[in-house]
Subunit: 482 residues, 4 copies
């Protein structure tokens, strides 16, 4: 997740607050770079925002009016401080820093070309490719950024801090979210609107697909299009990834989840005594499901929020005895009841299988599993760390087979059509004048951008990717960091 | 919170898992002591269980069959490793370790008497008083423990590891919970049943008020009464403190909370569009309230679970702008609606006031505050860190004044009678044969144990304490640790 | 080593400087306690003074005029922070702190008696025995200290911080050194005079055997004798342990070592081309030896001063190849020469053996080993961590056998008589008027204090101990800390 | 300092031992890179070798036969882990690592040229310039290294780890030392011979000026000349920097220092009672001085070896009182005597001034200062961190003025001619057949290489530098790291 703000005296401090709101988008590392016309300071650390960015780290950034920040959720590259962002670079035209959310699908090819041409790479990060592309171009930094971004394919949102300005870019498909706002009169940008809200700011609009915007203490420069838009927004942001209080491209994440639950009942009702959800992300879908069916909703699983990086693992012997630290069934709700269990998605099936068994052990007489999205059959190449295809249960098994595998009495998935219906905007999307051609309106739409006709990327459910995919996602994740 | 198990080869490891389930009872420090007939090892650390008790700390405890553990939630004594528990002591009769949950109300007087008699205290902890009382008695350790406990007043659950055995004790009022179970054939004891369930064990019964039990690898010794029972169980465990999947003295915490919500509607209904709860502890009461009234329930506040000891504080300037990191209102649910906000209790009123303001800012047209317990008017002397009396909003203001202070459109509290009704047992309490005289049956019941006639301690709501209170809670918390 | 000062506003800071000068007396842990009439703060840490006592640790001690400090060189008790000193204790009469250098030979017996009487011990340290003895006496703290010290046997120097005063005590034999001085008008005490000199102070006199003195901001109270003096000062302080710039009981450590070297030549000359010493402690003795014989002295071994607690160990394979990190022979000096190698003492013989082999490998044609003290045949019970008797090479082998074992061409030890002659005072010892009866003058001198007739303890060379020895030193060092 | 070895199974471990011997050449950070034909692992850390390179850091390097190491003594670049070496780089032809001792005098110019050409620099280190030069060349890595080194000016010794081989290079002047040896049949290279000796290896010969050698497990490839030699070896290595047991270019450091002392007596005798040296580096020169004059030599100053990075600083008040932690005068030697104080060099004069005052305070009746090298009048540009010219006392003052400034009774410096005489080889230098043209034999010798006619660089004494100096040393050290 990324965050940027231009103007306030405590820019770095505000970015840190924003990153705190975006913490769910990356718990591995966090960093901030802050600057003005002549100076650039940066700090990166491993762990959560509170650990990675202690107060003293922000001391040297005091009174610098431009700041960008990043929380990292590694999809490629090892989990080391070297790969934490924003990454700083000394270019001939000045010192810059780049924060990048998403995945560049042609990064390996670009990197090989640059290395053959004498470039020395320091990290495993896609981000460094952008800097090297910029270093080899001439002219003002903004023009060099524009040239570099044109060479990129994939799904990404970028924030680039240069002397005196911050540039933010969203990929031409709008695969990764990027929203613009104002806090105390200063322009800011963030991966999700919840970051702007937490700062007490107002959300102005989403960045359009393929749009580059420049934020300075003086204001925001008019939009500039890097590439022709081919909208294919990521539905998984709404299904699972984003925070419920965010609104992305006009769609409230919370309300969309509730609608997914309601439509799931319409497609797959269940004759049960109680509906429960898997905490925390599926509670809303479960509530929508129960409300649509007029069935009681209740808390059926207690989640421990203490589980984190200092996680204690039950020993092998304890696992055999069924020690499960994260989720505990609430026997008083489950015992002797027919239960509908709602989860937001089904990826590998291991969690669902374990929970079904827990519920039966707690006394459930029947367990009906309902999934508020279609079966995941393909890997994501755009920065959502779903699993490799070989691990996706729905890549090999059909619905009855999955049902048997997880041990449920019945199983139902939301259809793609119902998913798209649930994703209808709650408010009109605001991408700036004429920025968004809307679904299906792009004359360039061709073979490769599959789902783009809907305006959404559902590739993980359909296998139809909006960009060329030269290198399999599996290969990249296996790449051993040196 | 305390945890103990006698018998398994991995006793320390099982205690650690149990402590993990009890983490909500103390996040400040954690420790484990393990032993057999001749050896005793202990480790204590600051922070959560996962940090305080890393794998390597348990290495020397491998194959020791007796283990007790503790998570600390400081009520008296400074937050330092010195005060972490279990505390080990070298007595003439052998090395022991003591874990203690609760508060000993005559600890200061006992300590002064012991110091005058030549005892040297190393910690601020009440626990050390018990060891010094034991050191001055003669005979077998169990008899000395019995003698020491008889001198104590207050609310407590103890686990004492001695060579070859673990002794657990519950105070004569049953103020602090203590439950017995079996895991893989081995007897265990814990502050809450969720710890036994997480280990895959079976909950056998609650320890009775004033009961001392001895656990060894060979089994559990028959009960022995330390003092005549005067039941006065803490209702605040069910209202707020305990985990929802625990069952304490036969009452399911989750179901009791739901009943509190339902009875709250009966006493204080509200003409609203949506009912929301303060996450996480009040969601169930809110749901019970909404269900009883037939009003829609929804998620109205998003809680960040990343906030912990590495908390980042918004700066003064940001607080003025309303930066609130912990709870974010969900505008899509709140905006334009009349809202009933349900909280489990009202202590200082500061949180409620802030949330009411947040909801209004997010567009709520009306905010009706409902509290699923009576007003807190008195300090707790038995280990629940409610505030000093001077900070309790209901100690000085009546309901209309509180309503005005927090800025709500209306305010309703659950009555004490309704609270007691909600606390009716879900299953018959099992305290062993003849252990529990039941409410009102104690012939000793006199002036000082006030609420004891109900079998519950509601002193924080009524000011009627079940034990003599010589020293004000305020004084003790102000006591500067040396 | 211990250090104390009474009066200056920066007492703790001055003690830290003093401890720095005493660092060679203990590298394991360091601590400071500071106070005034009502307050006592203390801080202890593992490692060297600079690590264990960082600036921030001394912050709360600012402006407290009384301070005592300690550097620990463990002889009994495990190497943990629990055993670091000064140890603080809450007695009925006030909070005190005790710093203790040396060894109490009847500590185990005293401890057993106290435990049987209800005392609870927290540490393995002898020091805690003193506190418990004090806790069981009544009256003012100074009188209780006096009573406690009378029960102690062994060699020790104590500093005890009480409300408003510091008391320092030296054992009745003067086994451990203790010197008094003045810094900027304020009285101080230290294990060695180098600490007082480093503070720019003046050395006033040594504490007499069995003397207790009280330092306050107002001055030093007249001497008070705890026990009848039986002087038996430790010669090993001058041979090896003390810093060369210290003067102990009137004897310059540096000059004594030089005289030991000169007398060693008189007793055991050598026909060699060059004399070298083992750095750093034996360089002076080697120089004295060479000067007395008119033979060239040179640097023959280069010592790495980087070796410390972060020591890297050569692997087994490397040790076989002769990798030796600490001492490197200087081939340009050694090659083709007949070498006399002077060491201050010979304990286990392993170092000497290794160095002799190194010298031969570097080209020495002959190696004549000369030891500037008698053979060590017995363990020390008074705080010098020489080895157990079973490890002492001279306990089993005679001089020709040792010579063969270490591989030298010849071997000579300084005689006890020559050692005593080298220890003649350089300046008249000042112990206060009438405080020191001088060698042999004590009418109480009896069987048990062996060497006391010389005024020196040479027990490690002679086996004649100045105190009863109930428990073998071996047993105590083997005692596993709980 | 650098260290390299090719062949043994525990190459990294051996390099660590070697670095330990070179610790005096850099205490700021340490690192090791190890590899074979296909793999390269590296680890760098702050602090001494024992801290920076713990055992676990070398685990992944086990069984890799090629290893290079580095200890850093910063002359340019900030003291951060980023600047620690060896620095790893991913070049198109493979992954390499570079360790570099010394200073590249045209690094800033080279860097600016490379940045303008699109290179992105990550560190402040000169070393990165070499990698970027290599990245822009084509062909095998060794040829690219050769091309890169040809562009460098200054004094340096390099070790470059490439797939399957280690290349070591010494600058054309031989300004920085580099010696070759064999350990257990495997070739190694090190900044000083003491590293090879500590490994139990044999020193084979010095690398010649301008020589590049390739070490592989199969042996050492015949020499190849990068540039025409212009010998100008650094005399300061022998005067102060190198370890006494090293032999550099055939000159024993220890014996050279002794000869400097002897010649100093010949030029500047003194009528004194005792000669003392400043420990540790000047003790030998002092001994040579005393021996030449037949005057007693003694230890006059006790140095604390505990002073390091955890240094405690006396407070301002204490400094006024004369608290001096590092060096303590030995009053028993000084008091009432006329003293000659010998130091190896005089740079800023502050230490000498303080010591003279300390000696007088300790009772010296006269203090005659003797310096075993000429006055330092110019900054070093080749990696010895002498001070900026503005801080050099001899840059502004003549000998009588300096004498008055430091408060000595007389002052004498060794002449340049005597210094050169003391640097005569002890053994014939071995640089391989025909490698070393010897002093004055280079037909290229021109204006710029000043002292090169002697074969030694005495630029810090004479201001005659052997290379062009475009940028003042002052400027570079002031350069604020970004």
């Amino acid at each position: 997740g990324i965050m940027a703000i231009a103007g306030p005296a405590d820019a770095a401090e505000q970015v840190r607050i924003g990153l705190f709101a975006l913490q769910h988008r990356g718990e591995e590392s966090a960093g901030i770079a802050a600057g003005n016309d002549t100076t650039l300071h940066e700090h990166r650390g491993m762990g959560l925002v509170g650990e990675a960015l202690p107060d003293h780290a922000l001391e040297p950034m005091r009174s610098l009016p431009l700041a960008i920040g990043h929380v990292r959720y590694s999809t490629t590259g090892a989990s080391t401080i070297t790969n934490a962002q924003p990454l700083p670079f000394n270019l001939a035209g000045g010192r810059i820093a780049i924060a990048h959310n998403g995945n560049i699908t042609n990064a390996v090819a670009l990197r090989q070309r640059l290395e053959a041409d004498g470039a020395i790479f320091q990290t495993e990060s896609d981000t460094e490719v952008i800097a090297h592309l910029m270093a080899r171009l001439s002219g003002p930094l903004e023009r060099r950024l524009r040239g570099a971004v044109r060479a990129l394919e994939g799904g990404f949102a970028l924030a680039v801090l240069t002397p005196g300005a911050i540039h933010v870019v969203r990929d031409r498909h709008g695969l990764r979210p990027l929203v613009l706002g104002r806090v105390g009169g200063h322009w800011c940008a963030a991966s999700e609107s919840c970051a702007i809200s937490m700062l007490g700011g107002s959300v102005e609009r989403d960045a359009g697909p393929g749009e580059l915007l420049t934020l300075t203490p003086g204001g925001m420069q008019p939009r500039s299009r890097i590439a022709r838009p081919r909208p294919a927004r990521c539905s998984f942001e709404h299904i699972y990834f984003a925070r419920p209080d965010s609104v992305i491209d006009g769609v409230s994440v919370h309300l969309a989840r509730k609608r997914m639950g309601a439509r799931l009942w319409a497609e797959h009702p269940a004759d049960v005594d109680v509906v429960i959800g898997v905490p925390d992300s599926s509670l809303v879908a479960a509530h929508g499901y129960a409300a649509a069916g007029g069935v009681p909703w209740d808390t059926g699983l207690v989640k421990s929020h203490y589980i984190g990086r200092t996680f204690i693992q039950p020993s092998a012997a304890q696992r055999q005895r069924g020690v499960e630290l994260k989720l505990a069934p609430l026997a008083a709700v489950i015992d002797g009841r027919r239960v509908a269990l709602v989860d937001d998605s089904l990826v590998r099936g291991t969690t669902a299988r374990r929970i079904v068994a827990q519920l039966r052990e707690a006394g459930a007489t029947e367990v009906h599993l309902r999934i508020a999205s279609p079966p995941v059959t393909s890997s994501c190449h755009y920065g959502i760390a779903t699993s490799r295809r070989s691990e996706l249960i729905a890549a090999d098994l059909d619905v009855p087979e999955i049902c048997e595998h997880v041990g449920a009495d019945s199983l139902g998935f939301l259809s793609e059509a119902a998913l798209l219906a649930a994703l209808e905007p709650d408010v009109p999307a605001r991408h700036g004048p004429g920025s968004d051609p809307g679904p299906g309106s792009d004359p360039d739409t061709g073979r490769e951008d599959g789902d783009a006709s809907s305006g959404w990327c559902n590739a993980c459910f359909t296998g139809r990717y909006p960009t060329p995919i030269a290198e399999p996602a599996e290969r990249r994740e296996q790449g051993a960091p040196a």
